[in-house]
Each structure stands twice: as structure tokens, then as C-alpha cells.
């Protein structure tokens, strides 16, 4: 087959697959939320509510598309499009199977992009323009606040996100996602998670923040901002924002699995050497299984951890994640430079984690009790002014 035709087919497959997966992930999320909260969840449309996503999609399509009179019309329409476009574009360099040139199917839209990870970060951080423009164009205070929060948050978390991946680039000597998997496909001990556990944690947290998911959904919290940047959006344009968020979740789950958990690799039946009939599909299945596990974990975290306060959010990024990620990069550089055993990285990660924890309890060696205690006499009383 002509390579262009194959690429078009892949794009179609990925688009359809992602969108379909999104709608059913929303179904899974709603069911899971219901189970966690001792409810039943969607159960009216079809058996077990299985047709609910289709009904929801139809509703979004058929609803009246309201554009409020007070909005900047051009930007208002543009911003959901930017959101979806950028998140889908990021998916083009993500291999969703054992990508190879020889196989019948490439399992990736744009094969052998050596920029891989950099491209994804560059494109997916563009998604914040959708949010900012949406909030700005809405001409609404809540929306503007939401988009301001989103911009501050995404820019802050971009740094630990990039830093945490640098370690992997140093270890494998490549930014190409296909190569990153191949480097790890040497056995269970080859997975980057064992050498970069701290980076994995940082990456996961930062990626959650990037995708505006709870506990980092400050840009769209219903309670404070009535939906934030998408307050004024309805019908299909809101659906596009929603879709962008879910696609982002899928992308970061893929990235977590590919970067830290060996991608399609699994010992015994999905290794680099396995070439039995249908091995490609087994690898595809293994990758999907891992990705689904990460997505389910993300959903569990959403219904477990309450939302951060904004100063806590910024504090976490600037005071904890960025220093730790920097230290981790230095650690990886040291190990690579002096050709030490890789397991030193594991030890080093834990040492860094423990150090950070101890620093958090007692930053300057002073007792916390003496630092915090305020004498009762120091209370300023309102009548005190007369004494002066």
C-alpha cells in the first residue's frame, strides 16, 4: 500500500479511536465516581447505561449553539478548536503499539520523530492558549480568573514536567519515543521506573496539573469559578473543551507508560524478540492495558484527593517539584558521567525523596514549635491605640 494511504488510515483510526475512547472513558469515570460515592451512576440509556456516551454526544451535537452577545466572537470560536487541535496533534508522535517500518501497520502516525518528547511538550503546552483565549474572549470575570489560573499553573508545571523527562533522555540517549521503548525493552529490570522513580512521581504529578485534572483543576472549579474558562460555553464548543481535557489525559497516560513503564514491553510474551503471529496486536493490547491502568489511577485520584489551594499549587511546583527534578537530573548526569551502576539512581532517588521530606519538617534546623508559637500577649487589641 502507498505510505500516504497508510498514514491517512492511521490518522483516521487514531482520531476515531481517541474520540470513541474519550466518550467511553467519561462513562467509566462516571460509573467509577458513582461506585466510590455509593451511587449507581448512569443506568438509563441502554443496558447498564452503556449507550449514555452516545446520548450525551447527540445532545451536544443537537443543542442550540449559543454565542453570548458580549463575547469576542472570533476568539470565542477559535479557542475550543485550538484546545482540541493541539491535544490531538500531540498524539501524532506517540506510538500506540510496537512501531516499526517493516510491519503491516506503522502503529504511529509520524514515525521516527527524533524530537518526540520535545514536540509533545511544545504542542501540548500550546493547549493553554485555548484556555486563555476562551476565558478572555468570554468577557466574564470568572472565566478570566480561570484562564489566568490556568496560564500560571501550566507555565509552572511545564518546568518539572520537562525536567523529569530529561533523566530519561540522558539514560537512553534519545528523545524519540519509539527508541525510548526499545531501550527499555530488555526485560522487567529495563523499565525506566526502576531508575527514575522520583522522576516518575514528579512527571505524573506535573502531567496531572498540565491536564487540569483534579486535584489541580483550579482553572475550572465549579465551586469557586462556576466552571472557570468554559462558563460561557455550551453545546459542541463545550464538548470540544471536554474532549481536549480527556484527550490530554489519554496522552499523558500514554507518555507515563511509554517513558517509565516500558511501553508495549512485558516480559515473556511481549518482548523485543517475540515475533509470533499476532505479536504486534499483543503488544498493542499490553500497551493499552497499561494505559488504561494509569487512566483508572488518575480517575481514582480525582475522587480521592481534594483540590489544592492556589498557593499550595504554586508552592508544590516551585518549592518541591522543580528542585527535586533538578537534583534528579544532576544525579542522573553524575551516574552517566562516571559510568556507575544504574541502580545507584534508584538509591539516589530515594535519598532525594527522604531529604526533601526531612527538609519539609525542619527547614532550618529550628524547632517548629518555637518558630510557630505566638505568645498570647502579642495579640493586637483594637483598643490599644489609645495608649500611644
Amino acid at each position: 500500500m502507498h505510505p500516504l494511504l497508510i498514514t491517512l488510515l492511521t490518522i483516521g483510526g487514531v482520531l476515531g479511536g481517541t474520540l470513541g475512547a474519550c466518550s467511553y472513558l467519561i462513562y467509566i469515570e462516571r460509573k467509577l465516581a458513582a461506585f466510590i460515592q455509593d451511587r449507581v451512576g448512569p443506568n438509563r440509556v441502554g443496558p447498564f447505561g452503556l449507550l449514555q456516551p452516545i446520548a450525551d454526544g447527540l445532545k451536544f451535537l443537537l443543542k442550540e449553539d449559543v454565542i453570548p452577545a458580549h463575547v469576542d466572537k472570533f476568539l470565542f470560536i477559535l479557542s475550543p478548536a485550538i484546545s482540541v487541535f493541539t491535544t490531538l496533534l500531540a498524539f501524532s508522535v506517540v506510538p500506540f503499539g510496537a512501531a516499526s517500518k517493516d510491519g503491516i501497520f506503522p502503529w504511529i502516525i509520524a514515525p521516527q520523530v527524533d524530537l518526540g518528547i520535545v514536540f509533545i511538550f511544545a504542542v501540548s503546552s500550546l493547549a493553554v492558549y485555548g484556555v486563555i483565549l476562551g476565558g478572555w474572549a468570554s468577557n466574564n470575570k470568572y472565566s478570566a480568573l480561570g484562564s489566568l489560573r490556568a496560564s500560571a499553573q501550566v507555565i509552572s508545571y511545564e518546568i518539572p514536567l520537562g525536567m523529569s523527562v530529561l533523566g530519561i533522555a540522558l539514560l537512553g540517549g534519545t528523545l524519540n519515543l519509539e527508541e525510548v521503548i526499545k531501550v527499555q525493552a530488555t526485560g522487567l529490570a529495563g523499565w525506566n521506573f526502576w531508575y527514575q522513580p522520583l522522576a516518575c512521581l514528579i512527571f505524573f504529578i506535573a502531567a496531572l496539573a498540565e491536564s487540569n485534572r483534579l486535584p489541580f483543576d483550579l482553572s475550572e472549579c465549579e465551586q469557586e469559578l462556576i466552571g472557570g474558562y468554559h462558563t460561557e460555553y455550551g453545546a459542541l464548543k463545550f464538548a470540544l473543551f471536554f474532549l481536549a481535557e480527556y484527550t490530554h489525559v489519554i496522552t499523558i497516560s500514554f507518555l507515563t507508560v511509554i517513558l517509565y513503564f516500558g511501553g508495549w514491553h512485558f516480559p515473556w510474551f511481549a518482548t523485543a524478540a517475540s515475533n509470533y503471529a499476532g505479536a504486534e496486536f499483543v503488544k498493542f493490547g499490553v500497551l493499552l492495558f497499561k494505559v488504561l491502568s494509569v487512566i483508572i489511577l488518575i480517575m481514582f485520584i480525582r475522587w480521592t484527593i481534594p483540590r489544592f489551594r492556589f498557593d499550595q499549587l504554586m508552592g508544590l511546583a516551585w518549592k518541591v517539584l522543580i528542585p527535586l527534578a533538578t537534583a534528579n537530573v544532576v544525579l542522573t548526569m553524575v551516574v552517566r558521567e562516571f559510568d556507575l551502576n544504574r541502580w545507584w539512581l534508584t538509591v539516589g532517588s530515594f535519598v532525594l525523596f527522604l531529604t526533601a521530606g526531612f527538609l519539609a519538617i525542619d527547614p532550618l534546623g529550628r524547632s517548629r514549635a518555637t518558630k510557630r508559637r505566638r505568645p498570647a500577649a502579642a495579640v493586637p487589641v483594637a483598643g490599644g491605640h489609645h495608649a500611644h
Binding site: 461506585f35 484527593i305 519539609a360 505566638r374 498570647a376 487589641v381
Partner: protein, 214 residues
């Protein structure tokens, strides 16, 4: 008046230990809790249209006008309910009881008795006020209608609510069934208590006294 400093109690935030400030054990604990709910899945919600709620006996739903032992409307048109009603939703027109054999023991009866169910706030004061236990609230809660006029319940509709609910098992007459309430005859409480053992048979509606024209 400034607050005296000795009246101020300073509350210190609890100190966080190593594991607490790393947040991980707390997150794992939280995940365990949520996971437990998924594994031991016991939904506490009701599937409403299929499963009807179990309402308490003193639920204040749609009104009904009770019938006495002869099947006549129990109401004696004393206007106490209409007076007690804070929403002013009860409209009564009183008339002298017809001079027939059937109504010989009664002086007055409601020629018209309308309750605007849209105005009603469900406070139950009409029920409290009624001296003869004629007006009662049932456990019917799913009251709907297509027009305002439909929700204006007249006497016959209120009596039909009685016929519908009295033997449904959910809405027993809460006070003296059949007989007029304690205000009508100066009976002792023992007699009233005895009267509640009556057999539960729906009493037949008597012919409309006003329909003969008088």
C-alpha cells in the same frame, strides 16, 4: 469592646511528621478508602420511578377530606382550617345541612370546599386545626397537573383522595375513623380509642345533598 487577650485561645496547627509532609501515606490511605467503596459496592440510592420511597406515616402530602361512618363528608364547615392556613389556600362555602333523614344530626356542611394545591405549602396546620378530624394529609407526593385549574381540588376530588387512600395501607385515618372528632360529640378518650378498632371497609358515598336543589 476589644477582646481581652486572656480570652483569646491560640490554636496551633498540628505538627506534621516526616511521612505526613511527604503526603504519600495520606494519599495511599485515601485511595484505599475509595477502592474499598468500589470493591464493597453497596449503593445507597433509590431507583425512584421503579422503587418508591418508604414514607413516614406523618408525611404531609396531598390533602383528603375524610368521610364519616355514613359516608358523608366529615367536615362541619367550621372554617378553622381556612383560618389556620398561612398560605390562604382553603376556600370553604358553608351551608346549612339539608333537612333530610340522612343529615338530621348535622347543622352545617361545606357546600363547596376547595384547596389550591399549588398554593399549599404543606405545613399541616389545617390538619392540626380541624376539630373533627375531617381534613388529613396523605402520603401521596407525586402530584402533577397540566393546568392551574386542575390543581384546584374541589370537595369531590378531595373525597375521592380519601376513597383512594383509606385502604391502601399507607394512609390509615390517623384519628377516629368514621366518627366525627372529639369536638362534635363530647365523648371520652376511651370511646375514641375503642372506635379505632372498627373494621376497615370503605364507606359508600351518599348522594350529593346539594344535587337535589334546595
Amino acid at each position: 469592646m476589644p477582646i481581652d487577650s486572656k480570652d483569646v485561645t491560640w490554636v496551633e496547627e498540628p505538627e506534621m511528621g516526616f511521612w505526613e509532609s511527604s503526603f504519600l501515606p495520606a494519599i495511599v490511605d485515601g485511595l484505599k478508602t475509595t477502592l474499598k467503596h468500589v470493591i464493597k459496592y453497596e449503593p445507597t440510592t433509590q431507583q425512584y420511578p421503579e422503587e418508591k420511597p418508604e414514607l413516614p406515616q406523618n408525611y404531609r402530602g396531598v390533602h383528603r377530606l375524610n368521610r364519616d361512618e355514613k359516608g358523608r363528608v366529615k367536615c362541619v364547615a367550621c372554617f378553622l382550617c381556612a383560618t389556620a392556613c398561612p398560605a390562604r389556600c382553603i376556600y370553604i362555602t358553608a351551608a346549612p345541612a339539608p333537612k333530610t333523614e340522612e343529615w338530621v344530626d348535622r347543622d352545617k356542611y361545606p357546600a363547596k370546599f376547595d384547596i389550591d394545591e399549588l398554593r399549599c405549602i404543606g405545613c399541616g396546620m389545617c390538619e392540626e386545626a380541624c376539630p373533627v378530624d375531617a381534613i388529613e394529609m396523605t402520603s401521596l407526593y407525586d402530584l402533577t397537573g397540566m393546568s392551574r385549574a386542575e390543581m384546584l381540588f374541589d370537595r369531590e376530588k378531595l373525597l375521592s383522595v380519601y376513597d383512594k387512600t383509606i385502604n391502601s395501607g399507607k394512609d390509615p385515618a390517623r384519628t377516629t375513623r368514621g366518627r366525627l372528632g372529639p369536638a362534635s360529640t363530647m365523648v371520652t378518650p376511651e370511646v375514641i380509642a375503642g372506635s379505632s378498632d372498627e373494621k376497615r371497609v370503605p364507606v359508600q358515598a351518599v348522594p350529593e345533598p346539594g344535587s337535589g336543589g334546595h
